[in-house]
């Protein structure tokens, strides 16, 4: 879906941030991006819908090479929605209603079409009761929810989220992740940057590990987090569940994705053990 090929980028009067980055986000998958702060994640995102233009290297969207002409950009930006870290820096309209309409209006949509999409978003995100509220009366969690809604109303094909769960409590995170899963099920590819590895392990189909401006590793979370030594090299560590499993079964190279799966596996192991011990006896 989104493909980057040997992308280099240096900020004007700044440091070189992307150093030959290659990335392929496959369509319809849940993707996660992990890496230290300052490794270039945000810069990468800004390349994902043409906000920055690489110094060298190409970016392909749906197999098409992006040429940064005005029309291409407009279409591209419609199809890639980005939710940034801080909602205060993304919401521009003082009213919830206007915030939702803002993006749609700038896509050059007709009024009737706009209304239809708005209605859909209102139902999906349960925003109807907020509609006449000003944005500054919302709490942080609600603001994050609204940023997501304001992006999703444009119906993007790829949704990019930068640390959506920071500062949220468990309940809010649950709701947020559920909504993202809904969005994914409806056919949108999702790419999340996060520091919460346990979430990555459970949620993602593919993990990209970023280090110093490059994608240094990728694969399913089980594969990636199993390579503990390599991750250590980039000082990244592993999810808690992975280290628990490692403790229990030092020779098992697999990692359960969540506590449920661990439970099942444990049962299987027990059964085998029983059978073994029966044999021994």
């Amino acid at each position: 879906m989104l493909k980057m090929d040997e992308v280099y980028y240096t900020y004007p009067n700044g440091p070189c941030v992307l150093k030959g980055l290659s990335l392929h986000v496959p369509s319809g998958k849940k993707c996660a991006l992990i890496g230290h702060n300052g490794c270039g994640k945000t810069t990468l995102f800004l390349h994902a819908n043409g906000l920055l233009r690489p110094d060298s290297g190409d970016i392909y969207w749906n197999g098409e090479k992006m040429d940064y002409r005005c029309q291409t950009l407009q279409k591209w930006r419609r199809e890639v929605g980005i939710v940034f870290q801080n909602p205060e820096h993304q919401l521009v309209a003082p009213l919830v209603r206007d915030e939702l309409a803002f993006g749609l209006h700038h896509l050059g949509m007709k009024k009737s079409e706009m209304d239809e999409l708005m209605e859909k978003a209102l139902d999906e995100f349960g925003l109807r009761s907020w509609l006449d509220k000003p944005v500054h009366h919302l709490s942080l969690g609600q603001k994050k929810w609204l940023t997501l809604a304001a992006i999703m109303v444009m119906n993007p094909k790829l949704l990019v989220l930068d640390e959506p769960t920071a500062y949220l409590d468990r309940l809010q995170i649950e709701r947020f992740v559920e909504k993202i899963n809904d969005i994914h099920r409806a056919g949108t590819t999702v790419l999340i940057a996060t520091h919460d590895f346990d979430f990555v392990l459970e949620w993602a189909d593919i993990v990209f590990v970023m280090h110093d401006g490059q994608i240094v590793m990728q694969g399913s979370p089980q594969d990636v987090f199993a390579r503990q030594h390599q991750l250590q090299k980039w000082r990244l560590g592993v999810p808690l569940l992975a280290s628990v499993w490692k403790t229990l079964f030092p020779h098992d190279t697999r990692i359960p994705r969540n506590v449920e799966e661990m439970k099942q596996w444990m049962r299987m192991v027990e059964r085998t053990n029983l059978r073994i011990s029966e044999k021994v006896i």
């Binding site: 407009q74 309209a93 009213l95 206007d98 939702l100």
Partner: protein, 238 residues
């Protein structure tokens, strides 16, 4: 401080009335207040107090406090109005000045009541919507809309910065004021950079326009009748 009246404006009882009606009502009364006589002004003040406290259910404490501040300011400007000093430094109080001061008092309080009524019953975006219908240039409306959003972002930043200063026993020196202003200024540049990117990301390329999705509130006949009858009665006083 900025939030106080704004919050009231969003959850008062007259919120659901169409903003045009409230704006026209307030402006009409305002015009009558600055042109009319004192009887009219006093009646108007009382009538508006009923609207504000009775119908809109604004806490009387808030109203009294705001009114108190206005009255205090007026009182303090009276000495300057009443006392006159001539060239030989004779201090005197002129009888005609007393009359002027009294008429000033009634006019100011009545006019202020109109403004305050508008302020606590109509949220700012709805006033802007009326301005838009009054064909105020769209650039002004857009600026006002965006400003209204950012006012609260910066107010929050300023408040948190001030609390952080106070937590370290600061915040009582003008140099700290300078620091605060500077930090806020930094926030402007930062927000500008980041917001621009966020807007581009949503496909806002060259022209950024503000769209206000209009809502249609109810027309309330009961209040409409009271307003009309009240204004007629006031005009008979004048």
């Amino acid at each position: 401080m900025i939030r106080q009246f704004d919050t009231i404006a969003y959850d008062n009882r007259l919120r659901t009335i169409r903003p045009e009606q409230k704006v026209i009502f307030a402006l009409l009364l305002l015009m009558m207040a600055i042109t009319g006589n004192w009887k009219m002004q006093v009646m108007m003040t009382i009538w508006l107090a009923i609207w504000i406290i009775g119908y809109a259910r604004v806490s009387w404490k808030v109203y009294a406090k705001a009114l108190g501040v206005v009255a205090l300011f007026l009182m303090m400007s009276f000495p300057a109005l009443l006392v006159s000093i001539d060239k030989s430094f004779h201090v005197s109080i002129d009888r005609s000045q007393i009359f002027i001061a009294m008429s000033l008092l009634s006019r100011s309080v009545a006019a202020w009541s109109c403004l305050f009524f508008l302020l606590v019953t109509t949220p700012f975006p709805e006033i802007l919507y009326v301005l838009k219908r009054m064909k105020v240039p769209s650039i002004i409306i857009e600026l006002l809309f965006f400003m209204y959003r950012f006012v609260f972002v910066f107010e929050k930043a300023a408040e948190e910065l001030y609390v952080a200063m106070k937590a370290r026993n600061g915040g009582n020196h003008w140099r700290h004021g300078g620091m605060l202003v500077f930090q806020l200024f930094q926030k402007i540049w930062h927000s500008y950079e980041v917001l621009r990117l966020a807007l581009w990301a949503r496909g806002v390329s060259d022209e950024m326009t503000y769209v206000h999705v209009e809502t249609y509130n109810e027309k309330n006949k009961r209040y409409l009748w009271e307003a009309a009858i009240g204004i007629c009665l006031l005009l008979r006083l004048g």
